[in-house]
């Protein structure tokens, strides 16, 4: 009985290989349905263009366009946590105090700085939206540094 369960679980896992991971709150599906990806560029991010290009490419892959949502300061992080925006673009340190609350990408268009406290351009995503997080991580990794 136990072996049958393990085999069924393994078969389910293999079948799901291509479709994992999915978003906990369905952000990717919503982007595809509404044809819009809501992005906020944090104030004081003059070099946001490479990150905007990456999320723009992601949106195009899913038949959507970018909708820029102007939100200031702390409100932007809360808006991301609450699912009011899909991504934030801004300067974040690797050891950002927000690290546990939002999912930060690797630095965009540059390598990881030696100083963990040094803020660099990154894309922040809502925690648990693992399909969106993996897809944008792949785009950041492919981006020439």
């Amino acid at each position: 009985m136990r072996y049958r369960f393990a085999l069924s679980f393994a078969a389910l896992l293999l079948a799901a290989c291509d479709s994992l991971p999915r978003d906990a709150a369905g952000t990717t599906e919503r982007i595809e349905r509404t044809h819009a990806m809501r992005v906020t560029v944090l104030p004081g991010t003059p070099d946001a263009q490479p990150a905007l290009a990456l999320v723009g490419a992601y949106a195009r892959d899913h038949g959507a366009h970018l909708r820029l949502i102007p939100i200031h300061g702390e409100h932007a992080h809360k808006a991301l946590k609450d699912g009011e925006v899909d991504a934030l673009i801004g300067h974040f340190a690797k050891a950002s105090p927000w690290q546990a609350d939002i999912a930060l990408s690797k630095p965009v268009a540059r390598g990881e700085p030696d100083d963990k406290e040094h803020p660099v351009l990154r894309i922040a995503r809502r925690n648990g939206e693992n399909a969106l997080i993996l897809a944008t991580d792949q785009l950041v990794a492919q981006d020439p540094r």
Partner: protein, 300 residues
Amino acid sequence: MSLHSGIPDAIAADVRHGERLEWWTLAWIDSVVVVMALVMGASQAMKSAVIEDVLSLIPAIVFLLSVHWERKRANNRFPFGYRRANSLAFLVAATALLAVGGFLVYESVTTLVRQEHPTVGGITLFGHTIWLGWLMIAALVYSIIPPLILGRIKQPVAKRINDKVLHTDALMQKADWQTGFAAIAGITGIGLGWWWADASAALFIALSIIKDAVGALRQAVAELLDGTPRALDSNKLADDAERLIATLKARFGDVDVRLRETGRYIAAEVDCPPPATIPTGVELMDEKAWRLASLNFRPE
């Protein structure tokens, strides 16, 4: 072996086998901790699994220490030897098991209450960015194999040498592989977008670990309070202890017989004058004669 120190010849080989198994446990679980730490990323489920693995080393370590002390000779400062080190080790091992269960319950409940959505992103290896969850599942599969094998081998050895620490360690290994399976289900759940799957699976396993730990703690406390020897896997009286009481009563009449346990050894006290011929351990306990460390008679 003397009355109060050393390991009886009848179980010496099995005790050495138990020691070898515990060294293997330390080596395997250390390697598991390293592999898991390399892939854990920001996953709370994986962090819990790593902490659980580190805590699971405690019974193996205290078993090795208690056997080392058991071999030491009695001396002026410890005239009854160090055999009770095993009882103390049992208490420590049971407490460690309870700590693992308690920690997993805390982690799971806080995750469910806060409705935390675990994030498992990508990792770039050899130019390809893949989902970190696949590496985590591979590491967890590796983490399941050693405890699954070692736990099963330890149980019969623990029974033969009547070692509750080794038995508790086998329970800890069961907790290890069950947590590993729960974590795999949890990571898969995260992949499917079910944020609650991970914590729910861990909570289910944690409750079973706590049940085992509370049982072990009750036995450990009974042993330290000089209770009648308990069975290896429950708080019931040990079968060989009940047989010994019946044998002593059959031989010396309806007298009070008290048994207590020091580590794996039994001390018996019979309320009657010493007989002309003192029965031997084999006469009283057959193949478990080594368990009977002392037999005292207390005339009225």
